[in-house]
Symmetry: C2
Subunit: 552 residues, 2 copies
Amino acid sequence: MAENTATLTEPVAFATHPSRYVHWRLEIEPPLARLVMDVQEERPLRPGYPLKLNSYDLGVDIELADAVQRLRFEHPEVRALVVTSGKDRVFCSGANIYMLGSSTHAFKVNFCKFTNETRLALEDVSRHSGLGVLAAVNGPCAGGGYELALACDEILLVDDASSAVSLPEVPLLAVLPGTGGLTRVTDKRKVRRDLADVFSSLGEGVKGKRAVQWRLVDETVPLSRFAARVAERAQALAARSPARSGPGVALPDLAGVRSERGLEHRYVSLAVEDGGRVATLTVRGPAEGEPAGAAAMRARGAELWALRAFRELDDVLLDLRFNRPEVGVVVLRTQGDGARVLAADAALLAAAGDDWFASEVLHHLKRVLKRLDLTARSFLAVIDAGSCFAGSLFELALAADRSYMLAGDDDGPRIALSALNRGPLPMSNGLSRLATRFLGTPEAAAAVADGEALAAEEALERGLVTFAPDDIDWEDEVRLAIEERASISPDALTGMEANLRFAGPETMETKIFGRLSAWQNWIFQRPNAVGERGALTCYGTPNKPQFDIRRT
Amino acid sequence: MAENTATLTEPVAFATHPSRYVHWRLEIEPPLARLVMDVQEERPLRPGYPLKLNSYDLGVDIELADAVQRLRFEHPEVRALVVTSGKDRVFCSGANIYMLGSSTHAFKVNFCKFTNETRLALEDVSRHSGLGVLAAVNGPCAGGGYELALACDEILLVDDASSAVSLPEVPLLAVLPGTGGLTRVTDKRKVRRDLADVFSSLGEGVKGKRAVQWRLVDETVPLSRFAARVAERAQALAARSPARSGPGVALPDLAGVRSERGLEHRYVSLAVEDGGRVATLTVRGPAEGEPAGAAAMRARGAELWALRAFRELDDVLLDLRFNRPEVGVVVLRTQGDGARVLAADAALLAAAGDDWFASEVLHHLKRVLKRLDLTARSFLAVIDAGSCFAGSLFELALAADRSYMLAGDDDGPRIALSALNRGPLPMSNGLSRLATRFLGTPEAAAAVADGEALAAEEALERGLVTFAPDDIDWEDEVRLAIEERASISPDALTGMEANLRFAGPETMETKIFGRLSAWQNWIFQRPNAVGERGALTCYGTPNKPQFDIRRT
């Protein structure tokens, strides 16, 4: 199967809406919602692979990500979510194999990263919005289908002759269940490792009592009682969940303007430089005073600066990942008034304790910043005149691989911290970026007061920026740093950044992106998987895979 | 540079002795020892790459591993170790690039794993034998040379015009500092991530005051005072270390008999089956009663069953890794009297509290079992009549990916736990294998009493074995399991096992083998590193590397 490079020439768009969903139905019956997967076989994201048996591609997953996001903002009346299949004889057969087999290595890697983020978003909505998620597995559930179920709080499996859960990737395709599968089996469901080993090397999967005994599902239910039991469990999940007062906040399309040269949103711009290896990503602070108080924020809704700006940032990050592989270095800039950012942060934090909407905005910031940490591009923060790296926007500098701040006179740039830098926006490792930065000197974080405006020399002294050249050296030093970075092997940088960005503790989340994904990416290059006679290549053809039997 | 396959045809031998060292001098001056690296350029492990500038290959590292091991057992009078260079103008320039460039992928991966284990052994000797380790960096210290220093407790760097520490892998070779470098910089020395980023992408490294400020070294000392300061710090480390009473215990060569068909030691045998994809590894229990009491154990010395058997096991594991890549499935068996193993365990544990030798034997068992966990082959424990999977030998069943135990009448096999299964032999994740196994049901581990002999049905019920077929099904079931395993892609199994074996918490050690090594293995396949115009391939040639600039 030849590599299909269509993904490199036609930009992937991430904006969608329930009214335009092709593959899912979002059914709202408060306090419940149902997300029904009913994949349209003939409408894959790019031509060449029918999406049989409720298998998914990126297009299917973009809709799922959108639905989870809208439930959080648009449907406060919903307190539990049932994920199920609209097909008669299958729950979900996982990622489409022909799509994977015909994709470039880079697309495979980024596709898996996005699906992983979407699974984690399901867990995030449960943990932080209190929305219980139930997988109603009403048919065979294989590979990525089971990985989707694993991301739910509870798994109910129909007990019939054909419905099993399975992770057949290793024996059938010679790749890993890489969308968190192996990690969630051992670390979330705490399946015994030898049983996990049997399960993950068994094509046909496990069903019935054994699936419960092995902790793979929570319950099996005969078909005759399945619908009733699903409703019962969903109501129980909803009853555990705190009520949220309506109305919801609609999320309109962002309607950014995209071209080869960049992507222009209201608060966020991406500008690709000549040659294409470097881009500047600029985030603008609030243009006017942002509302304070939950009611005023709710009235502002999706136009609230923090929500809109970070939704735009998310869109730009995804555009970078999928549509601009040649951009290796991203210069992060901000423009605006740092005091306004700090005021917006303070208002958000003050409201978030009691108001679900403000809390959702905060969690959204958190997820977008995690997406930034996990984006395999080099980020250099450039802090100069007119910038507003304060509070939530200073997270961009903390997330960057390095930062350069212009030293100068009294008119020079200032940075400042806010309470948002100290916990509400944790990285995947569970720590704030500030705590991760100062693992060796935790007292350094405590020594800076929130709101204290720091010029370059002070910021350097306190360890908050990497370099602080004065205006004589500034241009050369920044230019050289960018040029040097752009000259290094992109792959070595990806590996280096994936290690240096995540100091300190590991969580299930970092294990998925570090250990599991790194091994999967290794396998995605092995001839035994993707070579001419590799298992992924041969799947569905008359050819049997031929393995080089030597172990590495 | 063509791949040199010499490593695949000439077996690597791991036995050595200070009297035969080629590249290191072990100098004993109680309470200090000095390990002086003085690599003989013209004596690489295989022809084709001179070991210039104190660069190392596997042969150099085998000697280092041996020296650290001997210090623990043979030199109780030594309480601090100085690692330094015997060359005039270089400390160590890291792993030899030409060796790496001309090695197979599998060799690179296994070489890095062994060097990682050796660096961890240095940290283990410090933590558990109280032997302080000082890196006396008396010249330029690059790449793997700095990674060696990072594994020491303290790093003293000479302050002169040329001596810097550096990790030039990313900018010069397009690979990672994969011998723990990136991980130890952020997680052990807690270097700030942006400084780590600058340091790891800067070919020339960092020296002088900046190296101290960035936490890369502990102290820089002018050449005129270097020797005195090294002696002072080494004495201080020695003074902190508890005294150990002599004499030491000599570790004689094991003198196993190796052939294409296997490896025969006194207590451990490896037998490769016809076709070569499956091997049986048998560990025999103590033949007679083992000594009890510290004095009697010391008298038995290296012939103590636990020490000898696990040294032999270590040798077999290394033989498997480096010399038998075609063996994908290893059947783990034991032979002997379980009661004797339990008695040996009890004697060892009783003595280990006060006696350094017994304690060292325990820590040796721990390290060998970690080596087993980290060996990329499928391990199936087969527990049948005549076996002695008890206590320390039951760790083999716990380390195995699965276990099969013969169910039957009163004469059937028995397994038993000992106190050694509950903490003294932790995995890399810091937990015992029993605790890792029962992450989801910790009460299951507590429910089995030490020494309680369990037949197959009971062992199955308690979750201690995976399957317990009766004698009607036994042969077919075991045979089928082996055949099925041998038919799966070796690479997919390597990735699967690397994920399933390490449930639960992550430590710096698991981060090195999981996150860092997995990314390095990915990079070791990328054309930007190992392709015709990759940086590793072009190093030292007139060709400049050419990179595919697209990010993945």
